[in-house]
Amino acid sequence: MVFAVAAVLVAVLALQAYQQTTEKRLVIVGPQGISDLGKALAQEFSKKYGVNATFVPLGGAVEMVNELVRNRENPPWDVAIGIPEFYYTVLIERDVLYCPGIKVDGVPADEYWDPRGCVYPLDRSYIGIVYNETALARLGLKPPETLDDLLKPEYKGLFAYPNPVTSGTGLAVLSWVMSVKGEEEGWRYLRQLAGQIAKVGYPSGFTATRNALKRGDVVVALSWFSHAIDPGTPHMRAATSSAFLYREGVAVLRNSKNRDLAVEFVKFALSKEGQDLVDPYNYMLPVRPDAKVENNMGLPQPRSVVVYNPALGSKADEWRLRWQREMAGG
């Protein structure tokens, strides 16, 4: 009996595995935090092209990039969304991506941030200081305005930023701090900041951070400005003195089993139809000027914007490793 049931199950699992490796379907992978947009894009693409496209969430953006590298020879996915601008070179260096070199009409030339034509712009927004206005008022505290303000004793135990070992948001924070403070001063700052971290520790990614903010376990965070317009976090506001520009993209995997379909998906994601889904499903700004924007109409605008410095690209893993050793846990 046991063996008969097991034999049937093995057959089913083998069939599933066989389908995964051979079936003509599109598997889109992306960070957990981009799931709503991923599902919406998959659904609309399936409808339009009459194919079976599915979205698979995979941890944080950084975790996803490393899984793409680990599985580069035979990936169970075809196309990746949510690849951060400041952590995509690792995919190029490890020959993970297919670079079709396409241009999509309607996307301004300055939105294309990968000069090799492998990663295509999908959306963008800002990472900065966000805070729960009501909770701070209740505590009688003034909102922080600058990175240095976060070191003030009154914010001790109220603050968090995501773990850069797994999260794109977390790595953006690291890139921002290193860009504005320099490496030596940046690490000193992060060590001091570690003493301010709330009891929940370093959230694993966007979803976890949003959740901690929503519940009030974290009152001040280095995270997305979109929290300030998200109905799920109604008391959140953003400090607009400065912010880091976070841009993310979409790319076809070199060893995708459905490469042509994957290229079509990239075109679809950059089309007006695809870009119209960005604002309502991802709380990000689309890269097409003609795309629909409603939620982000009220997005706080930073007075100064720190953009990613490509010269620091090779430093990302070194920073993450050091952060993992010196700052992780807590």
Partner: protein
């Protein structure tokens, strides 16, 4: 004639040899892929030293906790099943309960040691209790009659308990050394070598980082395996003709310790009172059962093949057990990933990996029952029917209840498994244990609460299966 016999014997050695090859292949692939590198930096050396230190501290504390529990085990039979809940529950469920019970303390290095002691203490007590019950009654009576000083009495008893103390200390040391889920759930600030392999392999694109750990991990495994071959196993659980007398003082203290374990058991299951994410649990649950059912059936086949090999006098299966119990699961998972990468993310790859990892454990459960069958009976059976028919027709029938028990234990073991799921199916088909770990390590309050519920569901399923395995009426040669 002798040559023909030799060929026949060799034929029956093929299954364990094949199994050993499959088991060792991932490690060989790792060495081939990453090379032999001993270039370790100061951080890796720190992790290495911490892994040894926490394993030693965990073994010592587990022994102390285990010895403290023994009087309660001896006097009250109902204490044992409850105190053993943290041990038989999946590690993630016990650690999660401890975090809720002790709060921030658990995130320090001592949290890892305490978690291991809570996990393995009741197991140590079980091994020591069996040993205690195997002490000849006349020796205990003589000691009671003639030894006046408590210290002298204890010295006599502890001399008899030496096998259990040594064996349990060393096995707990190995289990703690190879700990993965506990440091992962406790924040990752104090990783073991096992966890560092996982972090480096999955979070960093550079293979150099993992390469420095491969040889270190394998050498440690070899160092751990060698003494295991030499340390004698403690006496098996036999009902004693006379229960050792335990005084009121030690019993009261022991009951106090047992009460703590009751609290831990309560915390393991308490999230069941507040169900969360019930809809989302269905798919991972189905995946877990699909893997567990297929893997446990495959495990039974391997066990039968090992018994066939045993019946012709091979020591290979026993050697396989010793080798497998002390090898790094993270390195196995990483090697298995490279070996079967085209199946990454599927349940099939997980099923295959579970079968290989759980089979030696299952064999170790069946082996004592097999050895209890009279040797002349076994020899006659093999002589008249041949090893294959003897095992598949007669022995499997005779060991039926034991095999069913083993199957249930294999099922529970597969459901609990986390390391392989995290390294082989992330971004693919998720199992309940992997999903629970993902939620519990997210640091998001809502998700963590959902993780509490998932870990409690997992603990319930595993413990129900293990309880069912104890309900099966054993034959004289049962586990």
């Amino acid at each position: 004639m002798a040559e023909g016999n030799g060929r026949r014997v060799r034929r029956y050695l093929t299954p364990p040899l094949f199994f050993l090859s499959v088991f060792t292949a991932p490690y060989i692939i790792l060495l081939a892929k990453y090379g032999v590198s001993l270039q370790v930096d100061s951080y890796v050396l720190w992790v290495f030293a911490f892994t040894w230190a926490q394993a030693a501290a965990s073994a010592a504390l587990s022994l102390a906790v285990g010895l403290a529990l023994v009087p309660a085990y001896v006097r009250f039979s109902w204490v044992k099943p409850v105190a053993l809940v943290p041990f038989f529950a999946p590690a993630l469920s016990t650690v999660d309960a401890l975090i809720r019970l002790h709060g921030d303390f658990m995130y320090g290095p001592w949290g890892i040691v305490v978690a291991h002691a809570v996990y393995y203490g009741p197991y140590v007590a079980l091994v020591v209790e069996f040993n205690l019950r195997s002490i000849p009654a006349d020796l205990l009576e003589a000691a009671d009659l003639y030894v006046r000083r408590a210290a002298a009495w204890l010295r006599i008893v502890f001399a008899e308990l030496r096998p259990a103390v040594l064996y349990s200390f060393f096995t707990v040391f190995i289990f703690s050394f190879l700990s993965f889920t506990t440091p992962l759930l406790l924040g990752g600030r104090y990783p073991t070598l096992e966890l560092l392999v996982y972090i480096y392999a999955t979070s960093f694109a550079s293979t150099d980082l993992v390469a420095s750990l491969v040889l270190l991990g394998l050498l440690s495994s070899a160092v751990l395996a060698l003494p295991l071959l030499r340390i004698p196993a403690p006496p098996p659980a036999e009902p004693a003709p006379r229960t050792p007398a335990v005084g009121a003082g030690p019993t009261a203290f022991s009951l106090g310790v047992a009460l703590y374990f009751f609290a831990v058991a309560f915390y393991i299951f308490s999230p069941l009172l507040e169900p969360r994410g019930v809809d989302a649990v269905v798919q991972p649950l189905f995946n877990s059962f699909a893997v567990a059912l297929t893997a446990s059936a495959a495990v039974l086949l391997v066990v039968l093949a090992f018994l066939v090999s045993d019946s012709v006098g091979s020591r290979l299966p026993a050697l396989t057990y010793v080798v497998t119990v002390s090898l790094s699961k993270s390195l196995f998972a990483l090697g298995f990933f490279h070996m079967a990468q085209p199946l990454y993310g599927t349940l099939l790859i997980l099923m295959a990996a579970h079968s290989v990892v759980i089979a030696p454990l299952a064999y170790s459960l069946v082996k004592p029952s097999w050895e209890k069958i009279r040797i002349d009976t076994r020899e006659a059976c093999v002589l008249y029917l041949g090893p294959l028919k003897c095992v598949t027709r007669i022995i499997s029938e005779a060991l039926g209840p034991t095999l069913v028990q083993t199957w249930l234990v294999a099922l529970a073991s597969s459901l609990s498994e986390t390391t392989l799921a995290l390294m082989l199916t992330t971004g693919g088909a998720a199992t309940l244990s992997a999903e629970a770990v993902r939620l519990l390590t997210s640091r998001a309050p809502d998700l963590i609460e959902m993780g509490h519920f998932y870990s409690a569901v997992l603990a319930l399923l595993v413990l129900v299966l293990l309880a069912a395995s104890r309900l099966i009426k054993p034959r004289p040669y049962s586990i």
